[in-house]
């Protein structure tokens, strides 16, 4: 392989695929990036066997070929290269990087040993505008489970039925549901996509991109711009989320999002390291106000915010993190909180927007 390219293009390629490089694999070759030429384009590829990312950049190809190069070292070199024309040439598994009159040689791996990120041969494509999908990911990724004891909860359910698209995530203590419309779509899809993949899509997706999704029964390929992400789907049955969402409520509150967030964040400062090992926050809702009175060994805090209250008074306690997470992704000025008592699931949704909701289970005594 012999190519000439610009430093910034190299850096773009490396940055795009780097998150897919396996961080703790026993196979050293998975800690590397594969580069191969194809019609004056250079393809970057990386995979940890769960997620694979590919991207292409235009280069001047003088000799076709492919190399596999240790990811960490290569990305650091690329970052430190001068802003000039770079020539990369491979000899056996050695990779020479030339710039000005200097050069850097890295020992690579045999490209034949690098696992193939296989394509999905499907003509079925679902097209989704990037802006819609990005905001849906942002709103739902907060509720994914971190522990890997129950794999279905570590991903986001993507459900497409005709023009309707749904993303749902839950860690069993809370549930986030975002829905939208893809005009003109008639295809169907249902699968659980790992949250890591969703994070990468969110990171790499540009607002003016169009996302193309194709799939077979256990994998999905997402294409946008010059990037392709191939991911395994999480096996298992996502629980019936609709049945846990209450349809009625006893108390409806309209709260200023920013004030609410600041208040909860301040109150949670005092509840760290208590016995429960979670940040608890308790709301006393009465007379159109939320009162928070927290104390710990280190001090106490009394907060009061005025709200619009419709319905009964209620006292309810939550893991503060769950509340903070949802308040951070709601972009409207006011947030709607719907409660049916101290022990029932509580729903948060943006004002005047029925497309998103986050359900949080209160703490029980």
């Amino acid at each position: 392989m012999k190519i000439i390219c610009k430093k910034e293009d190299l850096l773009l390629g490396v940055n795009t695929v780097q998150r897919a490089v396996s961080s703790k694999s026993t196979l050293p070759i998975l800690q590397s990036i594969k580069m191969r030429t194809e019609n004056n384009y250079l393809w970057f590829e990386a995979t940890d066997l769960e997620i694979g990312i590919r991207c292409q950049i235009p280069v001047n190809v003088m000799e076709e070929g492919q190399v596999v190069i240790p990811a960490k070292l290569f990305s650091e070199i690329v970052r430190k290269l001068p802003d000039t024309e770079i020539k990369i040439e491979s000899q056996d598994s050695n990779i020479n990087i030339y710039y000005y009159s200097s050069d850097f040689v890295i020992n690579g791996y045999d490209p034949e040993e690098y696992p193939e990120i296989s394509d999905i041969s499907s003509s079925e494509n679902i097209e989704i505008p990037a802006t819609i999908f990005k905001s849906m990911i942002k709103q739902t990724i907060i509720a994914c489970a971190v522990e890997e004891t129950r794999p279905v909860f570590t991903g986001i359910l993507l459900q497409i039925e005709g023009e309707n698209i749904n993303l749902v995530s839950t860690d069993t203590h809370r549930l986030a549901h975002s829905q939208s419309v893809i005009p003109g779509n008639q295809k169907e899809f249902k699968g659980i996509i790992p949250s890591k993949t969703m994070q990468e899509i969110y990171r790499l997706l540009q607002d003016d991109d169009i996302l193309y999704i194709s799939y077979n029964n256990n994998r999905v390929i997402l294409k946008f711009g010059s990037v392709q992400i191939i991911t395994r789907l999480i096996e298992g049955q996502f629980p019936n989320y609709k049945q846990v969402i209450p349809q009625t409520c006893g108390t409806k509150l309209l709260i200023n999002t920013k004030k609410f967030l600041d208040t909860v964040e301040r109150a949670s400062l005092l509840s760290r390291d208590n016995y429960l090992k979670t940040n608890t926050v308790r709301f006393n809702i009465e007379n159109s106000a939320i009162n928070i009175n927290q104390f710990s060994e280190t001090g106490k805090i009394n907060e009061k915010i005025d709200i619009d209250q419709d319905g009964e008074d209620v006292t309810i306690a939550f893991n503060a993190k769950y509340i903070i997470d949802v308040l951070k992704v709601v972009e409207t000025e006011n947030i709607l909180m719907e409660s049916s008592g101290s022990f029932s699931p509580c729903i948060f949704r943006p004002e005047d927007d029925d497309n998103y909701l986050c359900l949080v289970l209160p703490l029980r005594s």
Binding site: A145, E147, T149, R150, T170, T172, H173, L175, P239, V244, N274, Y275, L276, K277, T278, T280, A317, N319, F343, P345, L359, L361, P362, L363, R364, S365
Partner: protein, 417 residues
């Protein structure tokens, strides 16, 4: 600082003395303490070791912890009596009652050992030495068994003092007496020196407590880490731990284990044993108002190989059935099918149970919680055996297991003085 007076009160051959005085009170003519005798477990249920021995039995070099078989070889006429834990508990409580009259600050260190902080009490009760003789004689007269009392200015030295010469003695071991009374003793007599440490000391030519005291602490730290430094301080009689009123040490974990009367080879019996342990562990957990986030099991095979395995929970729990279910999962992952001799169950990473985070899509545990609560109430009121799971019927296994005495209020083993 004012001079502290700490007493360590230690029953002489506790189990045996208690059994002997119990028999005398019932009208037996023989005092077990005067003949070679021992308290020993039941070899049938494989608890067949010597638990305590009389002073005449000591002359035959019979040691606590050795098998009944080897003890009988040493002394064919050895009189072996089965243990009676309920009696021991009664004696222990009676002893506590007597001791309580002499200080508000006492610590039950084990079933037969107490610490008593006498500091300041001399104004009320007079000279510590005289009082100690008074306590000793009162116990002998009122309860019928003898104790050793060690007196010093800290708990370590008091404990060392009570070990000096037995039975029925009072010893002092104040700091100025250390070189004459403690340093000539073999190093294994020092509190905290066990088999493993002893081997390391022997390798380095440390034979007496005095040898240890004259070592360079930096050297000790190099091969025994901070524990070396602790032992070196002990060898100099330095210890400043307070006499803790019971349960003032925060609980870090709760565990029970049991040696099974027969080798368990089938899964269902192993599950039953785990259930019997889960019952007691769960009950203790709930009694202390905790939930657990980490469950571990341990098993010893018939060849005395020891394994353990643990699992972190995503939801803290205090439910007997949840604990049991996870213990069974752990067993499935750990057990290769070898005959099991001993099983243990332990819960740790405790958190408060006053708030808990419910889950969607999971079975409602409310009902289970209410069952646990009801069973706990019945057992506390009518005794541990008053209600048990029918799964144990005809199984030959105890429905509750673990712990020598079901409701002991002091740690059976503790490393901090």
């Amino acid at each position: 600082m004012k001079k502290r007076f700490i007493f360590h009160i230690d029953v002489n051959s506790a189990y045996l003395s208690w059994e002997a005085s119990h028999r005398l009170q019932r009208g037996d003519s023989l005092d077990l303490r005067t003949v070679p005798s021992a308290i020993g477990g039941d070899p049938e249920t494989r608890h067949g070791i010597i638990l305590a021995k009389s002073i005449p039995a000591k002359k035959f070099k019979i040691q606590t912890g050795e098998t009944l078989y080897s003890a009988r070889n040493k002394c064919p006429d050895l009189l072996i009596v089965s243990p009676n834990y309920n009696l021991y508990r009664q004696c222990s409580m009676a002893l506590k009652e007597v001791i309580q009259e002499y200080s508000p600050l006492i610590q039950q260190y084990s079933v037969d050992e107490f610490f008593l902080d006498f500091t300041g009490m001399e104004k009320l009760l007079g000279d510590p030495m005289q009082t100690s003789y008074l306590i000793k004689d009162k116990i002998k007269e009122k309860l019928g068994f003898t104790v050793n009392i060690g007196i010093s200015s800290n708990k370590l030295l008091a404990k060392m003092a009570s070990e000096l010469q037995k039975p029925d003695k009072v010893h002092t071991l104040f700091p100025e007496e250390i070189p004459s009374k403690m340093w000539p003793l073999p190093v294994e007599e020092l509190f905290g020196v066990g088999r493993a440490t002893l081997r390391k000391f022997r390798d380095r030519g440390i034979r007496t407590i005095g040898d240890l005291a004259s070592e360079n602490p930096d050297d000790l730290k190099r091969y025994l880490k901070s524990y070396g430094l602790l032992l070196w301080n002990y060898a100099h009689g330095r210890d400043n731990s307070p006499v803790r009123y019971n349960n003032s040490i925060p609980v870090k974990g709760i565990g029970n284990s049991t040696t099974i009367p027969f080798d368990v080879e089938d899964e269902s019996a192993a599950h039953l044993v785990l259930l019997s342990l889960a019952e007691t562990v769960g009950m203790r957990l709930r009694e202390d108002d905790y939930c657990t986030s980490l469950i571990s099991i341990s098993l010893k095979t018939k060849d005395f190989f020891y394994y353990s395995h643990q699992k972190k929970l995503h939801l803290p729990t205090d439910c007997t059935s949840v604990i049991h279910q996870i213990a069974c999962q752990l067993l499935a992952e750990l057990w290769q099918g070898e005959p099991i001799r001993h099983l243990g169950l332990r819960v740790s990473e405790l958190s408060s149970n006053n708030l808990f985070q419910p889950s969607l899509f999971e079975k409602d545990i409310e009902k289970q919680k209410r069952i646990d609560q009801a069973v706990d109430t019945i057992r506390l009121k009518y005794g541990a055996q008053s209600v048990f799971r029918s799964a144990f019927l005809g199984s030959g296994l105890k429905p509750l297991s673990g712990g020598v005495i079901e409701t002991e209020e002091y740690p059976m083993m503790s490393s901090i003085l």
